[in-house]
C-alpha cells in the first residue's frame, strides 16, 4: 500500500506547473512549495505536470529542478518526479557505471518490480540510453555476478498463482544439494531463481524449510564474508518478502555513520507509491521506532521534509 498522500481536489496540471515556475523565480527557491506539489501527486499526475510545464515554458521540468536544487534534496525530488519506469532505468544505468555495490540496485530493481513493470523499465532504458538494459548489465559485470544479474533483468516471469507441488519438492532438493556442495552459482540454482514465477519459488522455499529444517537463507550464510552469497540471499528475500528486504536497507542506511542518503532516498522514492505502508510496519516491528522518527532523526532540512512527505508524515 502506498504512503503517498494526494489531496482530494488536485489542481489542473497547468496550475501546478505555474506554481512550480513561481517556486523557481527570483533569488532562492521555494522548496516548501515544490514539496507541497510534487510530493503529493501520483505518477500520472506528475507526468501531466511535466508535460504542461514543458509546453508552457519550453523546458523540461527536470531541467529546471536540476538548475534550482542541489544535493540530496534535488536527488529526492528528481527521482520522485520521474515516471517509475524512467526512474528505474535511470537508477539501473547509474548502477552499471558505478562499482560493485551497485549490483544491489540492479538486483533490487529486477526482483521487486512486477514482470510488466520490469519490462517497462527495459523499454524506458531503450528510449533513454539507446541500448538495452541487459547489454549494459552484461558489459559491466563479470563471472558469477553476470551469470546471476543478466537473467534477472531479462526475466519476464509468469505472474499467476499456480503452483506445482511436485516441482517444488524436486527443486527444493536441487537447491539443497547444490548448496551443500557450495556450488552457489551453479546453473541449476541460477535457473530456478531467475526463471520460476514468484508463487512457484515461494512454494519451493517453503518446502525447503519443511523438508530440511531451516530456511534456505540460513544455509546460504555458510560464509558470512562471501559477497555473492549476500547478493543471492537478497535476491531470495526480494522475490519472496520484499518489505523485509527494504526494511533492512533502510535500517542499515539510517544506522550507518553519517547515513547512506542514496539508499534512503532510493527506497523512499521508489516505494512510496507501492508498498511503503508494509515497509513502515516491518520497520516499526524490527526497530521499535516509527520510520518517520528515524528518518527525522537522521536527515535534515528540505531533504528531510521531502522524505517525510513521501512516507506519509504530516498533513496533505
Amino acid at each position: 500500500m502506498a504512503t503517498l498522500k494526494v489531496p482530494a481536489h488536485v489542481p489542473a496540471p497547468s496550475e501546478d506547473a505555474e506554481q512550480l515556475r513561481k517556486a523557481f523565480e527570483g533569488w532562492g527557491t521555494n522548496e516548501k512549495l515544490i514539496i507541497d506539489i510534487l510530493a503529493h501527486r501520483n505518477a500520472a499526475q506528475r507526468n501531466s505536470i511535466r508535460k504542461a510545464y514543458g509546453e508552457a515554458y519550453g523546458e523540461d521540468l527536470l531541467t529546471s529542478l536540476d538548475k534550482e536544487l542541489s544535493s540530496d534534496f534535488e536527488r529526492a525530488v528528481l527521482l520522485f518526479t520521474l515516471d517509475p519506469a524512467e526512474r528505474d532505468a535511470f537508477l539501473a544505468n547509474e548502477a552499471t557505471k558505478r562499482l560493485t555495490s551497485s549490483n544491489w540496485v540492479l538486483m533490487e530493481i529486477a526482483c521487486t518490480r512486477s514482470s510488466y513493470e520490469l519490462f517497462n523499465v527495459r523499454k524506458a532504458y531503450h528510449a533513454r540510453y539507446k541500448k538495452s538494459l541487459e547489454e549494459d548489465v552484461a558489459h559491466h559485470t563479470t563471472g558469477e555476478y553476470r551469470k546471476l544479474l543478466v537473467p534477472l533483468v531479462s526475466a519476464f516471469r509468469y505472474e499467476g498463482e499456480e503452483v506445482n507441488m511436485t516441482l517444488a519438492k524436486s527443486e527444493a532438493k536441487i537447491l539443497r544439494d547444490k548448496i551443500s556442495d557450495k556450488h552457489y552459482s551453479d546453473e541449476e540454482v541460477i535457473r530456478i531463481v531467475t526463471t520460476r514465477s514468484k508463487a512457484q519459488l515461494n512454494a519451493t522455499l517453503n518446502h525447503y524449510n519443511s523438508a530440511f529444517g531451516n530456511a534456505i537463507n540460513k544455509d546460504l550464510k555458510a560464509d558470512p564474508k562471501d559477497e555473492f552469497l549476500k547478493l543471492l540471499r537478497a535476491v531470495i528475500k526480494c522475490l519472496t518478502v520484499p518489505e523485509k528486504y527494504f526494511e533492512k536497507v533502510l535500517r542499515q542506511a539510517i544506522n550507518k555513520l553519517g547515513t547512506d542518503e542514496r539508499a534512503l532516498t532510493r527506497v523512499v522514492t521508489t516505494r512510496a507509491e507501492v508498498d511503503m505502508v508494509r515497509i513502515k510496519e516491518a520497520y516499526q516491528r524490527r526497530n521499535s521506532v516509527p520510520l518517520e522518527k528515524a528518518v527525522a532523526g537522521d536527515t535534515s532540512g528540505d531533504h528531510e521534509r521531502m522524505l517525510l512527505a513521501l512516507i506519509g508524515a504530516g498533513d496533505v
Binding site: 538495452s132 547489454e135 558489459h139 553476470r146 537473467p151 526475466a155 519476464f156 509468469y158 499467476g160
Partner: protein
C-alpha cells in the same frame, strides 16, 4: 475401364508435397469396388501384397499420408493465428521435440522484432502458464541451454547507433571463442552468449562484417532444402513455417516460387502460392 489413366492420376495425387485433394475426390469417390482393387494391385508405392491374400498399406505409409494431408491445415492455422500465439506455440513444440528442433527456437528468437518477441513471451504466459525462459531452462539440458534462454529473453535496442570500438573488440572475442572451440564450445562461452544475446542487430551486423564470416543460410537456402520430395519431414515443415512467417522478407529478397509449382500439390500448394502472391501485391512498385 480406363484404369491405367486413373492409376497414374492417383499416383500423382500422392506424390509431391501435400495431396491433390481435387483429383482424389474425382477418382476415389467415384470408384467402385473393382476400381479400388485394381488401384491397390497397381499402386506398389502404397500397397504391398500380404501373405494372407490381400493388399496391405504399410503403417509407415499411413503415417506419411497423414503428414501430407495435414500440410494444408497446418499452413492455414499457422497463417490465421495471431503472430504472438503462433510463435509461442512453435517454440513450445520445438522445445518438446528436442535438440534437432532447437533451430526453430533460434529462428524465432532472432528474426522477430523486439516487440514481436515480447508478444510471443506474453502469449506463452497465457497459453502455457509458465514463462518461456522457465520452460526452456527446464527442458533443454544440453550445452544449448544458456544460449537459447538468453536469446529468448532478449529485448534488443532497435536503433541504428553502433559503437565501432566495441564492434571491433567483440569481433575479436568471437574469433577467439571459435579458435578455442576444441577446449570449450563457443555456445557455452559467457562472452559469446553475451554478445549474441544482448547486442542490437545493427551492432551484430557490424560485428559479423568485421569478422568477415559467412553466417546463417539465407532464407532461400532453407527453402530449397525443404523443396524436395526426398527431403526430411523437418525441412518440409520449414517450408510452411518460413513462407507463412517470413513472407515479407522473402518477397523483398526476390524469392521466385518456381520450384513450388512443380513440387507442392493440392490445396496446400494453392494456399502457399496464394500467400506469396498476396505479399507480392503489397510490394511497392
Amino acid at each position: 475401364m480406363a484404369y491405367p489413366d486413373h492409376l497414374e492420376a492417383l499416383n500423382k495425387a500422392f506424390s509431391g508435397i501435400g495431396v491433390d485433394e481435387n483429383s482424389l475426390i474425382s477418382i476415389v469417390a467415384n470408384s467402385n469396388h473393382e476400381h479400388k482393387k485394381s488401384f491397390r494391385k497397381g499402386c506398389s508405392k502404397l500397397f504391398i501384397e500380404d501373405q494372407n491374400g490381400f493388399e496391405r498399406m504399410d503403417q509407415s505409409i499411413i503415417k506419411n499420408l497423414k503428414l501430407e494431408f495435414k500440410r494444408f491445415r497446418d499452413a492455414v492455422v499457422l497463417s490465421l493465428l495471431h503472430p504472438w500465439e503462433r510463435d509461442a506455440r512453435l517454440i513450445e513444440k520445438a522445445m518438446k521435440k528436442g535438440q534437432k528442433h532447437y533451430d526453430v527456437i533460434v529462428e524465432i528468437a532472432c528474426t522477430r522484432s523486439s516487440n514481436e518477441l515480447l508478444g510471443a513471451r506474453k502469449a506463452y504466459h497465457s497459453l502455457f502458464h509458465h514463462s518461456v525462459e522457465e520452460h526452456l531452462a527446464t527442458h533443454v539440458k544440453g550445452c544449448e541451454r544458456k544460449l537459447l534462454v538468453a536469446l529468448v529473453s532478449a529485448y534488443r535496442y532497435e536503433g541504428p547507433k553502433v559503437n565501432e570500438d566495441v564492434v571491433k573488440s567483440e569481433a575479436e572475442i568471437l574469433s577467439n571463442a571459435i579458435k578455442n572451440a576444441d577446449k570449450r564450445k563457443p555456445i557455452e562461452d559467457e562472452d559469446t552468449i553475451m554478445i549474441l544475446a544482448t547486442r542490437s542487430k545493427p551492432h551484430l551486423k557490424a560485428v559479423y562484417e568485421h569478422y568477415n564470416k559467412i553466417c546463417d543460410k539465407s532464407l532461400t537456402e532453407i527453402l530449397d532444402a525443404g523443396l524436395s520430395v526426398d527431403g526430411d519431414e523437418e525441412s518440409k515443415r520449414a517450408v510452411t513455417r518460413v513462407i507463412v512467417t517470413q513472407r515479407e522478407a522473402l518477397v523483398k529478397e526476390g524469392y521466385a516460387p518456381n520450384k513450388i509449382q512443380g513440387i507442392l500439390t493440392g490445396h496446400y500448394k494453392d494456399f502457399i502460392l496464394g500467400s506469396l502472391a498476396r505479399e507480392e501485391m503489397n510490394k511497392p512498385l
